[in-house]
Structure formats: structure tokens, C-alpha cells
């Protein structure tokens, strides 16, 4: 409560109009990110992580729309802004990088073109100055001989190098917030680790807060300060990484932790969450996790309310593994 968070998302609802009717991909999501903080956003495929990230940047396209809720960046509501205003923030105060480095850069434009346009979109600088800035940014993310590389096309870079270029572009203007949508998932494990630590360092230097989307809890454990767990368009649990990973409250979180190899003691078999992520068109009434939940009962056919407990933790479950009293 001391300082204003960089980002505050309140009761966000994102809908997609499809042939099967209106799907609610994001259903009342609330979270915040403090200055310089790293929030891990985890969940299975289709849980709404990318849509949440895109909504923050105002990049939800038809047939999707932000139906209600607000997204406050440094106190200003992005959902009420006009496109022109939003455009001035994108790339400047807000940035985003994507999962597949092979497709994030335009294949028919040179790297310098793609970097310089990102600079001149927000700054009145000469072409020469922009180029110098682009070169420095490439050097900073560890690209060797950046002067020559500027004149290359994306396909002349490896996947890891392309993601570095994307990161360099995203951090050009030292944004207040970077949404990273699984930027290392498509890369080799060693490169993944390098890039993770580089982004962490660069973001710290630039004072950039991160929303790090991943389905990999070990990444969250190493990188994030806090974690939000998504399931079927809702945040089902949120809290500090230490609290949530040590003492998960929601059965889904516990299931995710149980399926991570590194966190299991030797000899203990990995557990799998039974069943599949439900399709948004056929969500069960009440708690969407109920068909896969060992603790479910008849009461779970109602919507579980948000329960705040412990130190800045919340969950949405009628029968949490950690009770409010125990955590307190």
C-alpha cells in the first residue's frame, strides 16, 4: 500500500465471439505488479495466459474484446484509452515478447530496419543516432559484432539470437513493464537458462517489471517474486513464490507442483493431474477444476469465491490444502 503498483489489473473479462457463441477466455482476473517486480503467470495450455498478456498491451483483436474490468498502468486505465494513446505507450512504457523467436521478427525486413523503426516510433532522433542506439542494444543482449549483425535478416540468426534481438527491441525504451509470453519455451535448455538470467539482469538495470508467462514452474521458482496460477481463464491462486510452491492452497497448484520432476524427491513417482484442460465452450458449472479434482464435492458446483489469506495470498477453492488459519 506504500507505492502505486506499475500495473494493476482489476476484474478483467475478455470474450471471444465464436461460432459456438461467446467464449469467456478471461473471467474476472485481478492482479498487480509492483515496480521492478517479477510476476510469474503459470497454467496449462489454453488457460488464458497469452490472452491476458495481449489484453495488457491492448492487442486483443476481433472477434475478441475486453468486455469489462480495468487495466491500470501507473494509475492510467488502458482500457479507456484511444488507440493513438495506447500506441504511444506500446513499446515505450509497455513491451511484449513472444514464444516463438522464429516468427517474432519480420522475415523480409532487416534487423536494423526493425530496430530503428521501434526507436523512431517514440523518439525524434536522427537515423544515425537510432542506428547507434540499436547497435548498443544488440551488444547489450550479447550479440557478437553487432554492427555487422544489424544488416542481417532474421533467418541468418539462430533461435536464441533472434529471441535476444526481440528482447533488445522490447527493452529499447526501458519500459515500465515487459510481458514475456513463454520466450524461452522454444529454445534449448542451456540457451533458455542464459536468456533467463540475461533478461533478469537487463530488466533490473532498466527498472522494468516483468510478467513472465510460462507453464514451467521451475522457471517461476528461479525467476519470479510472486506467482499467479491460471486455470480456465481465472486466477485460482496467487502469492509469493516461496509460499505458493512450498504450501500450495489450490488442488490445481498442488497438481502442477507434483508434476514437476526437479521438485520431487528421488524414488517418488511423478504425479499427473488426471483429465484434460476443459474447453471454454463446455466449462462445468462452478469450479472449472472440479472434474479433475480429488477434493471436489457437491458444493464445488457453485463458484468458489476469492479468499484472501496469509501474507498477500489468495485462492479460489472451497477445500484448500492450506487453510486460512494454518497459514496465518
Amino acid at each position: 500500500m506504500t507505492s502505486q503498483p506499475i500495473l494493476e489489473v482489476r476484474d478483467l473479462v475478455v470474450e471471444f465471439a465464436t461460432r459456438d457463441g461467446v467464449l469467456t477466455a478471461i473471467n474476472g482476473v485481478s492482479f498487480h505488479v509492483d515496480r521492478g517486480e517479477v510476476l510469474g503467470l503459470v497454467g496449462e495450455s489454453g488457460s488464458g495466459k497469452s490472452v491476458t498478456g495481449l489484453a495488457i498491451l491492448g492487442l486483443i483483436d476481433a472477434p475478441g474484446r475486453i468486455a469489462s474490468g480495468s487495466i491500470l498502468l501507473e494509475g492510467e486505465d488502458l482500457t479507456r484509452m484511444r488507440e493513438a494513446q495506447l500506441r504511444r505507450l506500446r513499446g515505450k512504457r509497455l513491451a511484449m515478447i513472444f514464444q516463438d523467436p522464429m516468427t517474432t521478427l519480420n522475415p523480409v525486413l532487416r534487423v536494423d530496419t526493425q530496430m530503428i523503426e521501434a526507436i523512431t516510433a517514440h523518439e525524434k532522433v536522427s537515423h544515425k543516432a537510432a542506428r547507434a542506439k540499436a547497435r548498443d542494444a544488440l551488444a547489450k543482449v550479447g550479440i557478437p559484432s553487432p554492427d555487422e549483425r544489424l544488416a542481417s535478416y532474421p533467418h541468418q540468426f539462430s533461435g536464441g539470437m533472434r529471441q535476444r534481438v526481440a528482447i533488445a527491441i522490447a527493452l529499447l525504451h526501458r519500459p515500465a513493464l515487459l510481458v514475456a509470453d513463454e520466450p524461452t519455451t522454444a529454445l534449448d535448455v542451456t540457451i533458455q537458462a542464459q536468456i533467463l538470467s540475461e533478461v533478469q539482469t537487463l530488466a533490473q538495470e532498466a527498472g522494468t517489471a516483468l510478467v513472465w508467462v510460462t507453464h514451467d514452474l521451475s522457471v517461476v521458482a528461479g525467476l519470479a517474486d510472486r506467482v499467479a496460477v491460471m486455470y480456465a481463464g481465472r486466477i485460482v491462486e496467487q502469492g509469493s513464490v516461496a509460499d505458493v510452491l512450498e504450501n500450495p492452497a489450490h488442488p490445481y497448484t498442488a497438481g502442477l507442483i507434483g508434476s514437476v520432476p526437479s521438485r520431487n524427491r528421488r524414488g517418488v513417482p511423478l504425479s499427473q493431474i488426471p483429465g484434460m484442460t476443459p474447453s471454454l465452450a463446455k466449462l462445468p458449472p462452478g469450479c472449472a477444476f472440479a472434474p479433475r479434482c480429488a477434493r471436489a464435492d457437491a458444493g464445488c458446483r457453485n463458484d468458489p469465491p476469492v479468499v484472501a489469506f496469509g501474507t498477500a495470498r489468495m485462492h479460489r477453492c472451497f477445500h484448500p490444502l492450506v487453510t486460512a488459519e494454518a497459514a496465518a
Binding site: L57, R87, R90, G91, F98, T103, N106, Q114
Partner: protein
């Protein structure tokens, strides 16, 4: 790049050689070439002269050699009607057809790409649907009928534009062109529009399909996430990717536009090489027909070559992987 160009040149030469052989087989080897190459009015003496000149008394491979030799020297026979070398006759008409085709191309691209982009970016709008409906008409109505309707509407009913001919021309670099005079432009507009309609429909469809696909790509999202203006995202990031298939297809189509401007030139009595072909067919002026065939092949091949080079210039992946 140089290796690429040399290889493409080699391929082009090969195609021309193969086509020359086919034309030779069709015209000389099958049936009596004298029947095909001599004027119907020719008397016995003339026929003998032709037989000797063409070396038809010699073995086939020698005849083939002679045909190729003559063709390489630009000699594909003389027109019976004009008593001029057939190649020269066609070359005289080529600029008019070329001008017509280029104007049609400019119209097809200039109108087709914006409309296609619009339809691709707003696929569910009324405008988007109308554009697509229009392009279906452009595809499915026969070209000569479209031409007649254009004449009927703009020349007969409204009286705005002339119905035929090439109009006033001026010379540039020794070539007569009509797009620089008002009268010439008026004569050019309707036939060019007629020739452009089908290609325009094609460009609209290609552009729309490309736009819909490219808009979903991550790099477009990333470009928007950088804070670029809509104009820059669409005008540079999207358009440059769409242009690759459009240029390829249009290049191929330009060849067919030049070669088969026949219908349009006939409908509008436009003095290009298509009209010459039709006139020659009706007058049995066979050397001109042969020359037309060969010229068409060469034009096709040259255009394909140029298209491939343009393609390599706009798509770095082609350029660098082939080099």
C-alpha cells in the same frame, strides 16, 4: 546472386530451345510445310522456290538446323500479306500491346492491392463483402463480354470514351506511345481496364488471402507491440510479405496479358500484336503466326526471368539461399 542469375539464364535458354523444337515439329515436320508456309495463292514456281529456300529437299535434321539458324538471325519468314519479315511486323505491333498490358497491370495492381487489403483487414464489413463479390464477377464473366459492356456503357450510352483504335501517339525513344496524349489516354483506358479486370480480381483475392494470413503472424503482433503506427504495420510489415506471392503470380500473368491481349485487342480494334494474330489467322498469313508463337515464348521466358529476379530482390530468403 550471380550464380543464381546464370543458372536462371541457362534454364531460360533451355525453355526457348524446347519450344522452338516444338514449333518446328508442329509447323515443319508434321504435314507438308509448304502447305503451311506458302501462300495459298502461290503458283508452282513459287512453291519450288520456297521448297528450296527452306531446304525441304534435305534431311530433317538439316532442316531443323536451318530453322534454328534462321530463327537465331531473327528470320521466321515473310508475311504474305504485308511482304515484310514476320518478326519485324510483330515487333512493330509489340509496343502497342506492351503499353496496353503495362497500363492494365498498373490498373490491376493500383486498384487491386488497396481493395484486397481492405477486404483482408475488414473481412466481415459490408465493403469487404462487396469487394469480394465484385472480384467473383471479374473472374467469372467472360472477358469479351466485359469488354462489350464497357464499350456499350462508356462509349455508346455515356459517350465518354472512344470505342476503338489507339488514338494519337507520341514517340519516346523511337517508340510510339499513347499514354502521354489526352486522346491516346482516352483510347487506352477502356481496353486497359478490360484487360485489367480479370487480373484485378486475381490481385484482390491474393492480397486478401495474404493479408488475412499475415495479420495473424507473430511478427505483426510484435510490430504492433513496438508501438508502430497502423500505417507502418500495414504498409511495410504486412504489405512487403503479401507482395511476394502477388509479384510472382502477376509476373506470370503479365506474360499471358501480353500474349493473349488478343481478345481485348479484337473487341476494341486495338492495333496490337493480338489483333495482328487474329488478322493473320483469318488471312492464312502463316509465317506471322509462327513468328507470333516464337515471340510469345520468348516474351514469356523473359518475363519469368525478370519476375524471379524481382522475387529474389524482395525476399531475402530466396536471394541468400540460392547464392
Amino acid at each position: 546472386m550471380l550464380v543464381y542469375i546464370i543458372r536462371r539464364l541457362g534454364q531460360s535458354a533451355l525453355v526457348i530451345a524446347v519450344m522452338a523444337t516444338l514449333v518446328f515439329v508442329a509447323v515443319y515436320a508434321v504435314g507438308n510445310p509448304v502447305d503451311i508456309l506458302a501462300s495459298p495463292q502461290a503458283d508452282q514456281q513459287e512453291i519450288e522456290a520456297i521448297t528450296r529456300r527452306l531446304g525441304l529437299d534435305r534431311p530433317l535434321y538439316e532442316q531443323y538446323g536451318l530453322f534454328v539458324w534462321n530463327a537465331l538471325h531473327g528470320d521466321l519468314g515473310r508475311s504474305f500479306v504485308y511482304n515484310e519479315p514476320a518478326v519485324q511486323l510483330i515487333l512493330k505491333r509489340l509496343p502497342a500491346t506492351f503499353e496496353l498490358a503495362m497500363t492494365a497491370l498498373v490498373i490491376a495492381v493500383g486498384v487491386g492491392i488497396p481493395l484486397g487489403l481492405y477486404a483482408g483487414l475488414k473481412p466481415n464489413s459490408l465493403g469487404g463483402h462487396s469487394v469480394m463479390a465484385g472480384s467473383i464477377l471479374g473472374f467469372s464473366l467472360p472477358n469479351f463480354w466485359q469488354g462489350l459492356m464497357l464499350v456499350l456503357l462508356f462509349s455508346v450510352v455515356l459517350g465518354w470514351l472512344p470505342a476503338g483504335g489507339r488514338g494519337q501517339t507520341v514517340e519516346i525513344l523511337g517508340l510510339p506511345v499513347s499514354f502521354l496524349t489526352v486522346d491516346g489516354l482516352q483510347h487506352l483506358l477502356l481496353p486497359a481496364l478490360n484487360l485489367a479486370l480479370y487480373k484485378m480480381a486475381l490481385v484482390i483475392r491474393l492480397t486478401r488471402a495474404g493479408a488475412r494470413e499475415v495479420m495473424l503472424q507473430d511478427y505483426v503482433r510484435f510490430a504492433r507491440a513496438k508501438g508502430l503506427s497502423q500505417a507502418r504495420v500495414i504498409g511495410v510489415h504486412v504489405l512487403k510479405n503479401i507482395l511476394i506471392p502477388v509479384v510472382t503470380v502477376l509476373g506470370l500473368e503479365l506474360g499471358s496479358m501480353i500474349a493473349f491481349a488478343v481478345v481485348t485487342e479484337t473487341v476494341f480494334a486495338y492495333p496490337g500484336m493480338g489483333k495482328l494474330l487474329i488478322d493473320s489467322i483469318s488471312r492464312l498469313d502463316r509465317p506471322v503466326i509462327v513468328a507470333y508463337l516464337m515471340m510469345t515464348v520468348v516474351i514469356f521466358v523473359v518475363i519469368n526471368l525478370v519476375v524471379d529476379l524481382i522475387y529474389a530482390a524482395i525476399d531475402p530468403r530466396v536471394r541468400l539461399s540460392e547464392a
